[in-house]
């Protein structure tokens, strides 16, 4: 019968340095202990790289949502203007709905109120018929999508990372109106 590496100096009792010496001599499960120590660092790296991929996915969805929602809003307003001769702009709520539809499940549901995450900011600029200081006439929609992205697996360890995409769309044939559309409050 082999001698146990954890055999204490006094049978049945681990006493003082004797137990430490016995542990130092022991080789059983050494690889498991080393793996346990290393696996913590390894898991951190794996989660870090996984999060980089998720961050890229969120960014891509944010850009897609902003571009699609801005285009849809400009086309809607152009069509309304062509039919009625007046601006009938989509509400910020409708733009947010377009954003959510385009962004898909990669992002949580967005809002246009301050504090929403993602936050969609709608700003209409109407230069009217004037062309002052090189500003082209017409109606322009500036749409910004902001998302504070948090990595998974590191709750509370790292601050959220702000992602922002901004685009501008031109409302076609809108050079002769002076009224503006309602911007969002976010």
């Amino acid at each position: 019968m082999s001698k146990s590496p954890f055999r204490p100096e006094k049978q049945g009792v681990f006493t003082g340095c004797g137990a430490v010496l016995a542990f130092a001599r022991a080789r059983r499960a050494a690889a498991a202990v080393e793996f346990a120590i290393c696996s913590v660092a390894l898991l951190l790296f794996i989660f870090g790289i996984l999060n980089l991929g998720l961050l890229g996915l969120s960014l891509s969805a944010l850009a897609r949502g902003v571009q699609s929602a801005a285009r849809a809003a400009a086309v809607f307003t152009s069509a309304q203007y062509a039919n009625t001769g007046a601006f009938t702009c989509p509400s910020p709520g409708n733009i947010v709905t377009d954003f959510n539809n385009a962004a898909g499940p990669a992002l949580p549901s967005a809002g246009d109120a301050s504090g929403s995450n993602p936050l969609v900011t709608v700003t209409w600029t109407n230069n009217g018929t004037n062309n002052q200081a090189g500003d082209p006439p017409g109606l322009y929609l500036t749409l910004t999508g902001s998302y504070r992205w948090s990595p998974i697996g590191f709750n509370g360890l790292f601050p959220s990372i702000p992602l922002t995409i901004t685009t501008v769309t031109t409302v076609m044939g809108s050079q002769n109106q002076t009224t503006a559309c309602a911007s969002s409050n976010g």
Binding site: V20, L21, A31, F45, G48, T121, T166, T167, T169, V171
Partner: protein, 174 residues
């Protein structure tokens, strides 16, 4: 005290002749030379990707401006207004240089010419001058937008900071 010295001696001898700790050393080497550079590169990559997404979006905004205002598409001041609206709310400052990196003016006009009727095999000739009267003419505007990204962990020789990005392309306006 004697027992502690004995313990230290045992540990030294064991460390010298046993393979214990090999995994830790190997992991440390792999971390320094592979995992850390991978993570640093990944971080830079995400920042570059983020700037690239903003740059593409800005370029798309310019395209839409040119498409809806064909008469003013070559006016860099007006195109620059679109970029300035974006820059007010963007993390990255997008610029519209006056000249293209490939040469020629930013916002410059070129023409695509073909002889009707068009078919899938018909060749379109792209040129700087207007087409002949017998040909059908497409008018194209070329834009280029650029930006810079400040990388948190630049990799010398591979990813220098600031990293410059540019997007260019043509849009048919008429």
């Amino acid at each position: 005290m004697r027992q502690l010295q004995r313990l230290a001696g045992i540990l030294r001898r064991r460390a010298a002749r046993s393979g214990r700790g090999n995994v830790s050393i190997e992991f440390a080497l792999v971390s320094v030379f592979i995992l850390l550079p991978l993570f640093a590169g990944g971080t830079d990559f995400v920042l570059i990707m983020s700037a690239q997404a903003q740059l593409r979006t800005a370029f798309q905004a310019l395209d839409y401006f040119a498409w809806t205002n064909p008469g003013n598409a070559t006016n860099l001041t007006e195109a620059g207004y679109i970029i300035s609206l974006i820059n007010r709310q963007s993390d990255y400052q997008v610029t519209l240089p006056t000249t293209l990196s490939s040469g020629g003016a930013n916002g410059g006009i070129s023409y695509g010419c073909f002889t009707p009727p068009i078919s899938s095999s018909a060749a379109i000739t792209y040129q700087a001058t207007t087409c002949s009267s017998a040909q059908t003419q497409q008018t194209l505007v070329t834009y280029q937008v650029t930006t810079r990204v400040f990388l948190p962990i630049p990799l010398p020789g591979i990813l220098s900071s600031p990293y410059r990005l540019s997007v260019s392309g043509k849009i048919q306006v008429q």
